[in-house]
Protein backbone atom coordinates (compact mmCIF):
# COMPACT_ATOMS: atom_id res chain seq x y z
CA UNK A 1 0.00 0.00 0.00
CA UNK A 2 1.55 3.19 -1.17
CA UNK A 3 0.77 6.58 -2.52
CA UNK A 4 2.61 9.26 -4.44
CA UNK A 5 1.43 12.81 -4.80
CA UNK A 6 3.11 15.14 -7.25
CA UNK A 7 2.18 18.80 -7.35
CA UNK A 8 2.99 21.08 -10.29
CA UNK A 9 2.37 24.77 -9.99
CA UNK A 10 2.22 27.29 -12.79
CA UNK A 11 0.57 30.71 -12.92
CA UNK A 12 -2.88 30.31 -11.44
CA UNK A 13 -3.09 26.58 -11.83
CA UNK A 14 -2.00 23.67 -9.67
CA UNK A 15 -2.00 20.18 -11.11
CA UNK A 16 -1.75 17.25 -8.75
CA UNK A 17 -1.01 13.75 -9.90
CA UNK A 18 -2.03 11.13 -7.39
CA UNK A 19 -1.04 7.51 -7.79
CA UNK A 20 -1.60 4.44 -5.65
CA UNK A 21 -4.15 3.50 -3.02
CA UNK A 22 -5.98 5.94 -0.80
CA UNK A 23 -7.09 4.35 2.45
CA UNK A 24 -6.83 4.93 6.18
CA UNK A 25 -3.04 4.43 6.03
CA UNK A 26 -2.22 6.66 3.08
CA UNK A 27 -4.95 9.30 3.50
CA UNK A 28 -2.90 11.36 6.00
CA UNK A 29 -0.08 11.64 3.42
CA UNK A 30 -2.51 12.94 0.81
CA UNK A 31 -4.12 15.33 3.28
CA UNK A 32 -0.77 16.85 4.23
CA UNK A 33 0.29 17.17 0.64
CA UNK A 34 -2.94 18.91 -0.36
CA UNK A 35 -2.58 21.25 2.60
CA UNK A 36 0.65 22.49 1.02
CA UNK A 37 -1.30 24.05 -1.83
CA UNK A 38 -1.57 27.76 -1.30
CA UNK A 39 -5.24 28.36 -2.02
CA UNK A 40 -6.15 31.79 -3.31
CA UNK A 41 -9.04 33.35 -5.16
CA UNK A 42 -9.51 32.02 -8.72
CA UNK A 43 -6.80 29.41 -8.36
CA UNK A 44 -7.53 26.35 -10.48
CA UNK A 45 -6.69 23.04 -8.87
CA UNK A 46 -6.84 19.89 -10.94
CA UNK A 47 -6.23 16.54 -9.32
CA UNK A 48 -5.58 13.66 -11.67
CA UNK A 49 -6.77 10.41 -10.11
CA UNK A 50 -6.21 8.16 -13.10
CA UNK A 51 -3.40 6.39 -11.21
CA UNK A 52 -5.54 5.69 -8.16
CA UNK A 53 -6.34 1.99 -7.98
CA UNK A 54 -8.29 2.02 -4.73
CA UNK A 55 -9.97 4.53 -2.53
CA UNK A 56 -12.11 4.00 0.54
CA UNK A 57 -14.27 6.36 2.53
CA UNK A 58 -11.29 7.79 4.42
CA UNK A 59 -9.91 8.97 1.08
CA UNK A 60 -13.24 10.47 0.23
CA UNK A 61 -13.00 12.36 3.52
CA UNK A 62 -9.75 13.95 2.41
CA UNK A 63 -11.35 15.24 -0.80
CA UNK A 64 -14.41 16.54 1.03
CA UNK A 65 -12.18 18.41 3.49
CA UNK A 66 -10.12 19.82 0.66
CA UNK A 67 -13.23 20.74 -1.33
CA UNK A 68 -14.50 22.70 1.66
CA UNK A 69 -11.33 24.74 1.98
CA UNK A 70 -11.23 25.28 -1.80
CA UNK A 71 -14.75 26.65 -1.66
CA UNK A 72 -13.99 28.83 1.32
CA UNK A 73 -11.11 30.45 -0.54
CA UNK A 74 -13.05 30.85 -3.81
CA UNK A 75 -10.66 28.62 -5.71
CA UNK A 76 -11.81 25.94 -8.08
CA UNK A 77 -11.29 22.19 -7.82
CA UNK A 78 -11.58 19.58 -10.53
CA UNK A 79 -11.00 15.85 -10.15
CA UNK A 80 -10.11 14.03 -13.33
CA UNK A 81 -9.40 10.52 -14.58
CA UNK A 82 -11.77 8.71 -12.21
CA UNK A 83 -12.09 4.97 -12.74
CA UNK A 84 -15.62 3.57 -12.84
CA UNK A 85 -15.29 2.37 -9.25
CA UNK A 86 -14.21 5.80 -8.06
CA UNK A 87 -16.91 7.46 -10.11
CA UNK A 88 -19.49 5.24 -8.44
CA UNK A 89 -18.18 6.24 -5.01
CA UNK A 90 -18.60 9.94 -5.84
CA UNK A 91 -22.04 9.33 -7.34
CA UNK A 92 -23.41 7.29 -4.43
CA UNK A 93 -22.25 9.83 -1.90
CA UNK A 94 -23.84 12.68 -3.82
CA UNK A 95 -20.44 14.39 -4.04
CA UNK A 96 -20.49 14.00 -7.83
CA UNK A 97 -23.31 16.54 -7.90
CA UNK A 98 -21.52 19.28 -6.02
CA UNK A 99 -17.95 18.63 -7.11
CA UNK A 100 -16.49 18.90 -10.57
CA UNK A 101 -15.47 15.36 -11.51
CA UNK A 102 -14.46 13.79 -14.81
CA UNK A 103 -14.39 10.08 -15.43
CA UNK A 104 -11.43 8.55 -17.21
CA UNK A 105 -11.65 7.99 -20.96
CA UNK A 106 -13.99 10.89 -21.56
CA UNK A 107 -13.14 13.95 -23.56
CA UNK A 108 -12.60 17.09 -21.62
CA UNK A 109 -15.70 19.23 -21.56
CA UNK A 110 -15.53 22.33 -23.75
CA UNK A 111 -16.74 25.40 -22.01
CA UNK A 112 -19.44 26.73 -24.31
CA UNK A 113 -19.97 29.97 -22.46
CA UNK A 114 -16.68 31.39 -23.69
Amino acid sequence: MNITVELLEENMKVTGIIKGEIDAFTAPVLREKLAEINLSEDLQVELDLSGVSYMDSTGLGVFVGFYKSVKASNSHLELTGLSSRLKRLFDITGLGEIMDIQAAGKEVKIDETV
Partner: protein, 332 residues
Protein backbone atom coordinates in the same frame (compact mmCIF):
# COMPACT_ATOMS: atom_id res chain seq x y z
CA UNK B 1 22.30 3.14 45.08
CA UNK B 2 22.24 0.12 47.37
CA UNK B 3 25.61 -1.17 48.53
CA UNK B 4 24.93 -4.68 47.27
CA UNK B 5 24.77 -3.40 43.70
CA UNK B 6 28.17 -1.77 44.07
CA UNK B 7 29.63 -4.92 45.49
CA UNK B 8 28.12 -7.08 42.79
CA UNK B 9 29.32 -4.79 40.03
CA UNK B 10 32.82 -4.65 41.48
CA UNK B 11 32.97 -8.45 41.49
CA UNK B 12 31.85 -8.73 37.90
CA UNK B 13 34.32 -6.06 36.83
CA UNK B 14 37.19 -7.64 38.70
CA UNK B 15 36.53 -11.02 37.10
CA UNK B 16 36.32 -9.47 33.70
CA UNK B 17 39.53 -7.44 33.97
CA UNK B 18 41.35 -10.63 34.95
CA UNK B 19 39.77 -12.90 32.43
CA UNK B 20 37.80 -11.66 29.45
CA UNK B 21 35.32 -14.43 28.96
CA UNK B 22 31.72 -14.81 27.78
CA UNK B 23 30.46 -15.83 31.19
CA UNK B 24 31.43 -12.49 32.72
CA UNK B 25 29.84 -10.57 29.87
CA UNK B 26 26.66 -12.54 30.35
CA UNK B 27 26.65 -11.67 34.06
CA UNK B 28 27.02 -8.05 33.09
CA UNK B 29 23.97 -8.28 30.87
CA UNK B 30 21.87 -9.77 33.62
CA UNK B 31 23.11 -7.13 36.00
CA UNK B 32 21.94 -4.36 33.69
CA UNK B 33 18.44 -5.82 33.76
CA UNK B 34 18.40 -5.42 37.53
CA UNK B 35 19.63 -1.85 37.24
CA UNK B 36 16.88 -0.96 34.81
CA UNK B 37 14.31 -2.53 37.07
CA UNK B 38 15.54 -0.44 39.99
CA UNK B 39 15.47 2.71 37.85
CA UNK B 40 19.19 3.36 38.20
CA UNK B 41 20.28 6.05 35.77
CA UNK B 42 23.14 5.66 33.24
CA UNK B 43 25.29 8.30 34.98
CA UNK B 44 24.97 6.43 38.29
CA UNK B 45 26.16 3.25 36.58
CA UNK B 46 29.27 5.08 35.37
CA UNK B 47 29.88 6.40 38.88
CA UNK B 48 29.87 2.82 40.18
CA UNK B 49 32.20 1.83 37.39
CA UNK B 50 34.62 4.58 38.24
CA UNK B 51 34.58 3.84 41.99
CA UNK B 52 34.95 0.08 41.43
CA UNK B 53 37.80 0.53 38.99
CA UNK B 54 39.69 2.77 41.40
CA UNK B 55 39.33 0.12 44.10
CA UNK B 56 40.38 -2.74 41.84
CA UNK B 57 43.32 -0.83 40.38
CA UNK B 58 44.77 1.55 42.93
CA UNK B 59 47.42 2.64 40.41
CA UNK B 60 44.87 3.77 37.85
CA UNK B 61 46.31 6.86 36.12
CA UNK B 62 44.46 9.91 37.40
CA UNK B 63 43.70 11.17 33.87
CA UNK B 64 41.80 7.92 33.11
CA UNK B 65 39.94 8.36 36.35
CA UNK B 66 39.04 11.98 35.45
CA UNK B 67 37.84 10.92 32.04
CA UNK B 68 34.91 9.17 33.72
CA UNK B 69 33.73 12.48 35.17
CA UNK B 70 33.36 13.76 31.64
CA UNK B 71 31.49 10.62 30.64
CA UNK B 72 29.15 11.03 33.61
CA UNK B 73 28.39 14.56 32.47
CA UNK B 74 27.66 13.34 28.95
CA UNK B 75 25.38 10.57 30.19
CA UNK B 76 23.18 12.79 32.34
CA UNK B 77 21.02 13.72 29.37
CA UNK B 78 20.58 10.09 28.45
CA UNK B 79 19.29 9.55 31.95
CA UNK B 80 16.76 12.35 31.54
CA UNK B 81 15.63 11.00 28.17
CA UNK B 82 15.16 7.60 29.74
CA UNK B 83 13.02 9.03 32.52
CA UNK B 84 10.90 10.86 29.97
CA UNK B 85 10.48 7.64 28.01
CA UNK B 86 9.30 5.82 31.10
CA UNK B 87 6.76 8.54 31.86
CA UNK B 88 5.47 8.31 28.30
CA UNK B 89 5.03 4.58 28.56
CA UNK B 90 3.00 5.06 31.70
CA UNK B 91 0.89 7.72 30.02
CA UNK B 92 0.34 5.46 27.05
CA UNK B 93 -0.89 2.71 29.31
CA UNK B 94 -3.35 5.12 30.86
CA UNK B 95 -4.60 6.25 27.46
CA UNK B 96 -5.06 2.69 26.38
CA UNK B 97 -7.09 2.00 29.46
CA UNK B 98 -9.23 5.06 28.81
CA UNK B 99 -9.75 3.92 25.22
CA UNK B 100 -11.01 0.57 26.41
CA UNK B 101 -13.30 2.34 28.83
CA UNK B 102 -14.57 4.61 26.05
CA UNK B 103 -15.19 1.64 23.79
CA UNK B 104 -17.23 0.05 26.54
CA UNK B 105 -19.19 3.23 27.13
CA UNK B 106 -19.88 3.39 23.41
CA UNK B 107 -21.09 -0.18 23.38
CA UNK B 108 -23.45 0.44 26.28
CA UNK B 109 -24.63 3.83 25.09
CA UNK B 110 -25.20 2.86 21.51
CA UNK B 111 -26.44 -0.63 22.10
CA UNK B 112 -28.95 -1.42 19.40
CA UNK B 113 -31.90 -3.59 20.21
CA UNK B 114 -33.60 -5.22 17.29
CA UNK B 115 -37.32 -4.61 17.82
CA UNK B 116 -40.10 -7.13 17.28
CA UNK B 117 -42.62 -6.23 14.68
CA UNK B 118 -45.46 -8.50 13.68
CA UNK B 119 -45.22 -9.68 10.10
CA UNK B 120 -41.57 -8.69 9.82
CA UNK B 121 -38.43 -10.72 10.43
CA UNK B 122 -35.41 -8.54 11.25
CA UNK B 123 -31.75 -9.57 11.44
CA UNK B 124 -28.76 -7.40 12.25
CA UNK B 125 -24.99 -7.76 12.53
CA UNK B 126 -22.41 -5.05 13.16
CA UNK B 127 -18.75 -5.96 13.56
CA UNK B 128 -16.05 -3.31 14.04
CA UNK B 129 -12.69 -3.70 12.30
CA UNK B 130 -10.92 -2.07 15.26
CA UNK B 131 -11.88 -1.39 18.84
CA UNK B 132 -14.43 1.27 18.08
CA UNK B 133 -17.20 0.87 15.57
CA UNK B 134 -17.72 3.57 12.93
CA UNK B 135 -20.88 1.90 11.71
CA UNK B 136 -24.20 2.27 13.36
CA UNK B 137 -27.61 0.70 12.97
CA UNK B 138 -30.57 2.01 14.91
CA UNK B 139 -34.25 1.25 15.09
CA UNK B 140 -37.26 3.28 16.14
CA UNK B 141 -40.56 1.52 16.50
CA UNK B 142 -44.17 1.82 17.58
CA UNK B 143 -47.07 -0.59 17.02
CA UNK B 144 -47.35 -0.14 13.29
CA UNK B 145 -44.22 1.66 12.15
CA UNK B 146 -40.59 0.78 12.13
CA UNK B 147 -37.79 3.26 11.45
CA UNK B 148 -34.43 1.80 10.42
CA UNK B 149 -31.18 3.73 10.12
CA UNK B 150 -27.84 2.44 8.91
CA UNK B 151 -24.97 4.88 9.09
CA UNK B 152 -21.25 4.91 8.46
CA UNK B 153 -19.09 7.57 10.01
CA UNK B 154 -16.05 8.36 7.91
CA UNK B 155 -13.14 8.98 10.14
CA UNK B 156 -12.45 6.30 12.67
CA UNK B 157 -11.85 5.90 16.36
CA UNK B 158 -13.05 8.19 19.10
CA UNK B 159 -14.26 11.13 16.97
CA UNK B 160 -16.36 8.74 14.91
CA UNK B 161 -17.84 7.20 18.03
CA UNK B 162 -18.78 10.60 19.39
CA UNK B 163 -20.38 11.41 16.07
CA UNK B 164 -22.53 8.35 16.35
CA UNK B 165 -24.00 9.53 19.62
CA UNK B 166 -25.19 12.61 17.72
CA UNK B 167 -27.12 10.40 15.33
CA UNK B 168 -28.63 8.41 18.13
CA UNK B 169 -29.77 11.43 20.08
CA UNK B 170 -30.90 13.19 16.92
CA UNK B 171 -33.11 10.23 16.16
CA UNK B 172 -34.36 9.92 19.71
CA UNK B 173 -35.50 13.52 19.54
CA UNK B 174 -37.86 12.67 16.66
CA UNK B 175 -41.49 12.28 17.47
CA UNK B 176 -41.49 8.61 16.52
CA UNK B 177 -41.07 6.00 13.86
CA UNK B 178 -43.57 7.74 11.59
CA UNK B 179 -41.39 10.73 10.74
CA UNK B 180 -40.68 10.94 7.02
CA UNK B 181 -37.17 9.84 6.02
CA UNK B 182 -36.35 13.11 4.23
CA UNK B 183 -37.17 15.04 7.39
CA UNK B 184 -35.10 12.70 9.54
CA UNK B 185 -32.06 13.14 7.27
CA UNK B 186 -32.54 16.89 7.10
CA UNK B 187 -32.62 17.19 10.90
CA UNK B 188 -29.56 15.02 11.40
CA UNK B 189 -27.67 16.78 8.60
CA UNK B 190 -28.19 20.11 10.34
CA UNK B 191 -26.94 18.70 13.64
CA UNK B 192 -23.89 17.07 12.05
CA UNK B 193 -22.99 19.96 9.75
CA UNK B 194 -22.74 22.33 12.70
CA UNK B 195 -20.67 20.03 14.82
CA UNK B 196 -18.10 18.05 12.90
CA UNK B 197 -14.72 18.86 11.47
CA UNK B 198 -14.09 19.36 7.77
CA UNK B 199 -12.94 15.92 6.78
CA UNK B 200 -15.45 14.00 8.83
CA UNK B 201 -18.86 13.11 7.52
CA UNK B 202 -21.52 10.47 7.69
CA UNK B 203 -23.35 8.42 5.13
CA UNK B 204 -26.76 7.29 6.25
CA UNK B 205 -29.71 5.43 4.89
CA UNK B 206 -33.04 5.82 6.59
CA UNK B 207 -36.33 4.13 5.90
CA UNK B 208 -39.68 3.62 7.59
CA UNK B 209 -41.79 0.56 7.21
CA UNK B 210 -45.52 0.87 7.60
CA UNK B 211 -46.85 -2.55 8.57
CA UNK B 212 -50.45 -1.73 7.64
CA UNK B 213 -49.89 -1.21 3.93
CA UNK B 214 -46.52 -3.01 3.88
CA UNK B 215 -44.82 0.01 2.41
CA UNK B 216 -41.19 0.89 2.89
CA UNK B 217 -40.35 4.57 2.39
CA UNK B 218 -36.71 5.56 2.24
CA UNK B 219 -34.14 8.26 1.64
CA UNK B 220 -30.37 8.24 1.50
CA UNK B 221 -27.62 10.63 2.51
CA UNK B 222 -24.81 9.41 0.29
CA UNK B 223 -25.13 5.86 1.53
CA UNK B 224 -24.51 2.59 -0.25
CA UNK B 225 -27.89 1.70 -1.86
CA UNK B 226 -29.67 -1.19 -0.15
CA UNK B 227 -30.77 -4.21 -2.13
CA UNK B 228 -34.39 -5.14 -2.50
CA UNK B 229 -35.12 -8.78 -3.21
CA UNK B 230 -38.38 -9.57 -4.93
CA UNK B 231 -39.32 -13.15 -4.15
CA UNK B 232 -41.80 -13.45 -7.00
CA UNK B 233 -39.31 -12.56 -9.73
CA UNK B 234 -36.32 -13.94 -7.82
CA UNK B 235 -34.26 -10.85 -8.52
CA UNK B 236 -32.44 -8.04 -6.75
CA UNK B 237 -32.83 -4.32 -7.32
CA UNK B 238 -30.85 -1.42 -5.84
CA UNK B 239 -32.91 1.04 -3.83
CA UNK B 240 -31.37 4.22 -5.12
CA UNK B 241 -32.16 7.65 -3.75
CA UNK B 242 -30.09 10.73 -4.44
CA UNK B 243 -28.78 12.74 -1.54
CA UNK B 244 -25.51 14.18 -0.31
CA UNK B 245 -23.55 12.86 2.67
CA UNK B 246 -24.43 14.33 6.06
CA UNK B 247 -22.22 17.13 7.29
CA UNK B 248 -20.92 18.59 4.01
CA UNK B 249 -23.33 21.51 3.44
CA UNK B 250 -26.27 22.69 5.56
CA UNK B 251 -29.11 22.64 3.01
CA UNK B 252 -29.52 19.40 1.11
CA UNK B 253 -32.44 18.12 -0.92
CA UNK B 254 -32.98 14.42 -0.38
CA UNK B 255 -35.00 12.20 -2.67
CA UNK B 256 -37.65 9.97 -1.15
CA UNK B 257 -39.07 6.81 -2.70
CA UNK B 258 -41.14 3.87 -1.58
CA UNK B 259 -41.77 0.25 -2.41
CA UNK B 260 -44.36 -2.29 -1.30
CA UNK B 261 -43.18 -5.61 0.10
CA UNK B 262 -44.92 -8.91 -0.61
CA UNK B 263 -44.48 -12.11 1.35
CA UNK B 264 -40.89 -13.35 1.08
CA UNK B 265 -39.53 -10.01 -0.15
CA UNK B 266 -36.68 -8.54 1.81
CA UNK B 267 -34.45 -5.47 2.01
CA UNK B 268 -30.70 -5.68 2.66
CA UNK B 269 -29.17 -2.55 4.20
CA UNK B 270 -25.41 -2.40 4.54
CA UNK B 271 -22.30 -0.28 4.90
CA UNK B 272 -19.32 -0.18 2.56
CA UNK B 273 -17.60 -2.76 4.76
CA UNK B 274 -19.88 -5.17 2.90
CA UNK B 275 -19.54 -3.83 -0.64
CA UNK B 276 -15.85 -2.96 -0.50
CA UNK B 277 -14.68 -6.42 0.48
CA UNK B 278 -11.47 -7.45 -1.19
CA UNK B 279 -10.05 -10.89 -1.69
CA UNK B 280 -6.64 -11.79 -3.08
CA UNK B 281 -8.05 -11.75 -6.60
CA UNK B 282 -9.51 -8.26 -6.22
CA UNK B 283 -12.86 -6.82 -5.22
CA UNK B 284 -15.69 -9.14 -4.35
CA UNK B 285 -18.30 -8.02 -6.85
CA UNK B 286 -21.83 -7.07 -5.91
CA UNK B 287 -23.05 -10.01 -7.98
CA UNK B 288 -21.17 -12.36 -5.68
CA UNK B 289 -22.67 -10.73 -2.58
CA UNK B 290 -26.14 -11.15 -4.09
CA UNK B 291 -25.50 -14.81 -4.80
CA UNK B 292 -24.43 -15.37 -1.21
CA UNK B 293 -27.55 -13.65 0.11
CA UNK B 294 -29.87 -15.48 -2.27
CA UNK B 295 -28.47 -18.86 -1.28
CA UNK B 296 -29.88 -18.37 2.24
CA UNK B 297 -33.00 -16.38 1.35
CA UNK B 298 -35.37 -18.80 3.05
CA UNK B 299 -33.53 -18.77 6.37
CA UNK B 300 -34.54 -16.46 9.25
CA UNK B 301 -33.13 -12.92 8.81
CA UNK B 302 -30.65 -13.26 11.69
CA UNK B 303 -29.26 -16.47 10.22
CA UNK B 304 -28.91 -14.71 6.86
CA UNK B 305 -26.87 -11.76 8.13
CA UNK B 306 -24.56 -14.01 10.11
CA UNK B 307 -24.07 -16.32 7.16
CA UNK B 308 -23.23 -13.43 4.81
CA UNK B 309 -20.73 -12.03 7.30
CA UNK B 310 -18.94 -15.35 7.76
CA UNK B 311 -18.94 -16.10 4.06
CA UNK B 312 -17.41 -12.71 3.18
CA UNK B 313 -14.94 -13.04 6.04
CA UNK B 314 -13.84 -16.34 4.55
CA UNK B 315 -13.46 -14.85 1.07
CA UNK B 316 -11.28 -12.09 2.52
CA UNK B 317 -9.04 -14.58 4.26
CA UNK B 318 -10.40 -13.47 7.62
CA UNK B 319 -8.83 -10.07 7.28
CA UNK B 320 -11.51 -7.51 7.99
CA UNK B 321 -10.43 -4.08 6.78
CA UNK B 322 -13.51 -2.04 7.49
CA UNK B 323 -16.41 -1.99 9.92
CA UNK B 324 -19.13 -4.30 8.72
CA UNK B 325 -22.85 -3.77 9.24
CA UNK B 326 -25.71 -5.62 7.66
CA UNK B 327 -29.44 -5.37 8.36
CA UNK B 328 -32.00 -7.55 6.65
CA UNK B 329 -35.74 -7.31 7.11
CA UNK B 330 -38.09 -9.71 5.48
CA UNK B 331 -41.85 -9.66 5.07
CA UNK B 332 -43.33 -12.83 6.49
Amino acid sequence: MPQEFKREYKNILREYTLMQNEQNLYEGQNFSKQLIQKNISPEDVISIHKASLEEIMPDLPSNVSHSFDLLIEVMIHYGLALKEHQTLIKKQENIKMEMELAANVQKTLLKTKVPHMSGLDIGMISVPAKEMNGDYAYFLSDETNLGIAVADVIGKGIPAALCMSMIKYGMDSLSGAKTEPVIVLDIINRIVEKSVSDSMFISMFYGTYDSINCEFTYASAGHEPPLFYCDKSGSFKELQAKGLLLGVVPNVKYEQHSIVLDKGDFVVMMTDGVTECRSKEGFIEQQKVMEIIESVKDEPAQVMVEYVFHKLEELQDFEQRDDFTLVIFKKM
